[in-house]
């Protein structure tokens, strides 16, 4: 029963800046929730409000059906963990000491702590645990921070750009880990990397300048936008001359664009689109040998968002 997080109409202002403007959202349990948005969109602010580190100027926040009022209760602190965007580790201490300390702060017994540390070390490939955090490379620092987030086995794990600077291979491992943990855990993650969101998120929420622009499951969004909007057909010619020849056949039009030896044909859904496509195919008949490649491009999340931002 209940949702993991429910945010109702919250706003947050800093001096002169509206970081969040009447934002509402619901995060289902055992899902991976992607909070997307460009820099300064208000993602970190929203996460800090959710975890009670920051008070909103207005609106309510419920976490695991508990209303947040001036910070978290001890119960929630046990169940929710954050991996902040800033490093937030004891840099003078070693990886092990950091893990041990935070594990202990969840009141775990020593044996369990050691087991967990060992487990995380293997999964996240932390290497030698007795290196001081300040001497680690950026990627290892992020890995350690992530390990600290996981050490308390939270019900909700909040990741604020947790995988920035981590190499692709490890990122993949982390993603797999998150997917595997989904059974017991709700993950809220922010990222600029839409690719990553597409890879793991069940649901995405797109913030722009503190306002919601878009939300929904990935499939819904893509379906909706690819239906409503357009796709491209990319035709690559052997040279620019060949491309120009075809381009000239159409004269002045908005649906066709030329860039070098490529033509981009925008198509829309519906009857009109069918006409355009047949017309185009008819026109290129006989020029097959000039064409090197044809591909159909459906919009991905990134493009949808770029579009949405542009239209703003």
């Amino acid at each position: 029963m209940g949702d993991a997080v429910k945010v109702v109409n919250i706003s947050k202002k800093y001096k002169g800046v509206v970081a969040l403007d009447h934002v509402s959202l619901t995060i289902k349990k055992n899902s991976i929730f992607g909070l997307l948005g460009s820099n300064g969109a208000g993602k970190s602010t929203l996460l800090h409000i959710i975890i009670g580190l920051l008070n909103p100027n207005e609106g309510d926040v419920y976490v695991l059906d508990e209303k947040i009022n001036k910070g978290f209760s001890k119960n929630l602190k046990n169940k929710v963990a954050i991996v902040p965007q800033k490093l937030s580790l004891y840099e003078e201490l070693t990886i092990f000491e950091n893990l041990y300390f935070f594990a202990k702060s969840y009141g775990l017994p020593r044996k369990e702590v050691l087991e967990k540390i060992e487990g995380l070390k293997n999964i996240l490939r932390l290497g030698d645990l007795h290196r001081k955090v300040k001497n680690l490379s950026g990627g290892y620092q992020r890995r350690t921070s992530l390990a600290v987030g996981l050490i308390g086995s939270p019900e909700i794990l909040i990741l604020d750009e947790a995988t920035v600077g981590i190499d692709l291979e490890t990122k993949k491992i982390i993603n797999e880990l998150l997917l595997s943990l989904k059974e017991h855990m709700t993950v809220i993650t922010t990222t600029h990397s839409l690719e990553e969101a597409e890879a793991i998120c069940d649901y995405v929420y797109f913030l722009h300048k503190g306002k919601k622009v878009l939300e929904g499951t990935l499939q819904d969004i893509i379906k909706k936008y690819s239906a409503e909007n357009s796709g491209d057909i990319h035709i690559v010619f052997k040279d620019e001359e060949a491309a120009k020849k075809i381009f000239d056949l159409f004269g002045e039009t908005k649906i066709l664009r030329m860039e070098g030896n490529k033509l981009y044909l925008v198509f829309f859904s519906g009857q009109y689109s069918a006409n355009v496509l047949t017309n185009f195919l008819n026109k290129i008949k006989g020029y097959e040998k000039d064409i090197v490649d044809i591909s159909i491009h459906k919009p991905n999340l990134e493009e949808i968002m770029l579009q949405l931002i542009k239209s703003d």
Partner: protein, 538 residues
């Protein structure tokens, strides 16, 4: 590029508004603290109890001198010496002056009048100031007492002069008598050739010569007496009782006394000479009887001259004694024993080191954690803020404790710091101060945002604390309001307690208020810190 670097540095420096604000008020606070910490610049006007058990003019002179001295500020007090010493022990007054019962009697009897002064030596500065200032009391009151004594001297001189006049008169009478006798002897010589009047005449002539001499010397003595008065006037005019002037007076008195004594001797000789005159027996007209009679009367006159002369000499004797003896002396007692400057500063320096280190370390630690964000992260874990606080607190206590022990032993071993009371109590007080400092440091850290702010704020607290905490400037010379401001720093209480233990040898029960204050300085910021920590937000 240089210009660009310049701009960048300036922008960076000035971007921290809190830092700027503190940097702006810092000089103001320092100057006010310094300025108001020493009102007049000098260490004077120190509260003093004067106990007068003598109640005479002389003791009043001493009290007046105390009132007029800029060093002593006598306060209203009625009670015994023991009552007064209780105030002194608590440093509520800096000195107790006792004028004993027999003070003026002694002076009148040419015995030194002894005043007792007890000075609070727990504060080196007030102590050395007062220790030097007692000379002023002696000088001032001696001036007045000397005036009285000199008044006596002047009177004495007048009577002496009059007595000398009397002697001169008698000498004149003797001269007339001698003249008459001379004339008579001439007559007799004519009438009775049998009488050898020549011998008598010779002795009478030599008597007359002697009288002339004596008169001259008496005139000189009179002049000498006037001379004394002149010297005394000088002494008064120049406001001094310098040794050499005293010697001049004594020399003059001695000269006069010798002159008079010589005259007395001369008179004695003359009397003897007169006794030796053999008038012989001339029956006709009882001449020899008449001559004897005349000689006897001359002799008697000489006897009275001798008497007067002796009385002058006697009084001058007493005068000389008055002058010779030291009329007043002050017996000084350093109430808590002799003290070195370092002993006095010791309490303040120990407090300063403990305060500074114990304040700085936790403040910087927490701000560092804030800047590293670990504190925020920790606050999202279930560990309770109380545990976080006590964890930090305990480590810093331990750290401060060893730092303090180390400082203390260096001070004792190398500088021979005086610790009259128990060293354990010193350690206890310093530990309590460390607790208070840590609490305050933690509290500051929960209010301050950047390291830069902390680095200007901590000295802003520590340095004025040191200045107003009575460790350096005595409370006596601080502006009144500053003495209230002083209660805002735990150092005031630790210094007070440490001074009491280290210098006065007090026990813990005698510094309980300070202990309570230090505990309050520990608990209040501690509670505020925990509240702030719980409310701490990004």
């Amino acid at each position: 590029m240089f210009y660009t670097v310049l701009i960048k540095e300036a922008r960076q420096l000035f971007s921290d508004k809190g830092f700027l604000l503190i940097a702006l008020i810092q000089p103001l606070i320092f100057i006010v603290m310094f300025g108001s910490s020493f009102k007049g610049g000098d260490i004077n006007h120190l509260d003093t109890i004067v106990i007068d058990n003598d109640h005479t003019n002389y003791s009043q002179y001493v009290i007046d001198a105390t009132y007029e001295s800029e060093f002593f500020d006598p306060i209203n007090f009625s009670g015994t010496l023991d009552d007064a010493l209780i105030h002194l022990e608590r440093s509520e007054v800096r000195a107790v002056i006792l004028i004993p019962e027999n003070f003026s009697d002694n002076i009148d009897n040419a015995i030194t009048g002894e005043i007792e002064i007890y000075i609070d030596s727990s504060n080196f500065l007030t102590y050395s100031s007062l220790s030097g200032a007692q000379i002023e009391i002696i000088k001032e009151s001696l001036q007045r007492i000397a005036n009285d004594l000199l008044g006596g001297l002047e009177e004495e001189k007048e009577t002496s002069k009059k007595k000398i006049e009397d002697i001169k008169d008698i000498f004149d009478e003797i001269e007339t008598e001698a003249d008459k006798l001379d004339a008579e002897l001439n007559d007799i010589k004519e009438e009775f050739s049998g009488i050898d009047s020549t011998a008598i005449k010779n002795s009478i002539n030599s008597l007359k010569d002697a009288l002339q001499e004596e008169k001259t010397s008496l005139n000189q003595t009179q002049n000498a007496l006037d001379g004394i008065i002149f010297t005394l006037a000088d002494i008064k005019a120049f406001n001094q009782t310098e040794e050499d002037r005293k010697l001049i007076v004594i020399g003059q008195i001695t000269a006069i006394r010798n002159g008079i004594n010589n005259s007395i001797k001369d008179v004695d000789d003359t009397i003897r000479d007169l006794d030796e005159i053999d008038v012989g027996t001339v029956d006709a007209g009882n001449i020899s009887d008449r001559i004897d009679e005349k000689l006897d009367s001359i002799k008697n006159k000489f006897e009275s001259v001798k008497e007067i002369g002796e009385s002058i000499s006697l009084n001058l004797n007493k005068l000389q004694k008055d002058f010779l003896s030291e009329p007043i002396r002050i017996k000084e007692t350093a109430y808590h024993g002799e003290i070195k400057y370092f002993d006095y500063l010791g309490a303040g320096v120990l407090s300063l080191i403990v305060f500074f280190v114990s304040l700085m370390a936790p403040a910087l630690n927490v701000i560092y954690e804030k800047e590293q964000n670990t504190l925020y992260r920790l606050s999202t874990t279930p560990v309770s803020s109380i545990i976080v606080f006590f964890g930090k607190f305990s480590v810093f206590i331990l750290f401060s404790f060893f730092e303090m022990l180390y400082t203390l032993f260096v001070a004792i071993l190398i500088y021979d710091l005086r610790i009259t009371g128990s060293i354990y109590n010193v350690i206890l007080i310093l530990t309590l101060l460390a607790c208070a400092s840590i609490s305050i440091g933690l509290f500051i850290s929960s209010k301050v945002k950047t390291m830069q702010q902390a680095l200007v704020l901590v000295p802003l607290i520590v340095i004025p604390s040191f200045m107003i905490s009575h460790a350096f400037f005595p409370p006596d010379i601080m502006a009144e309001f500053m003495n209230y401001v002083a209660y805002a720093t735990p150092m005031t209480f630790s210094n007070h307690a440490l001074n009491a233990i280290m210098i006065k040898g007090f026990s813990l029960s005698e510094v309980l208020p300070d202990i309570y204050a230090l505990l309050a300085f520990t608990i209040v910021p501690l509670i505020l810190f925990i509240i702030n920590y719980k409310r701490m937000r990004y």
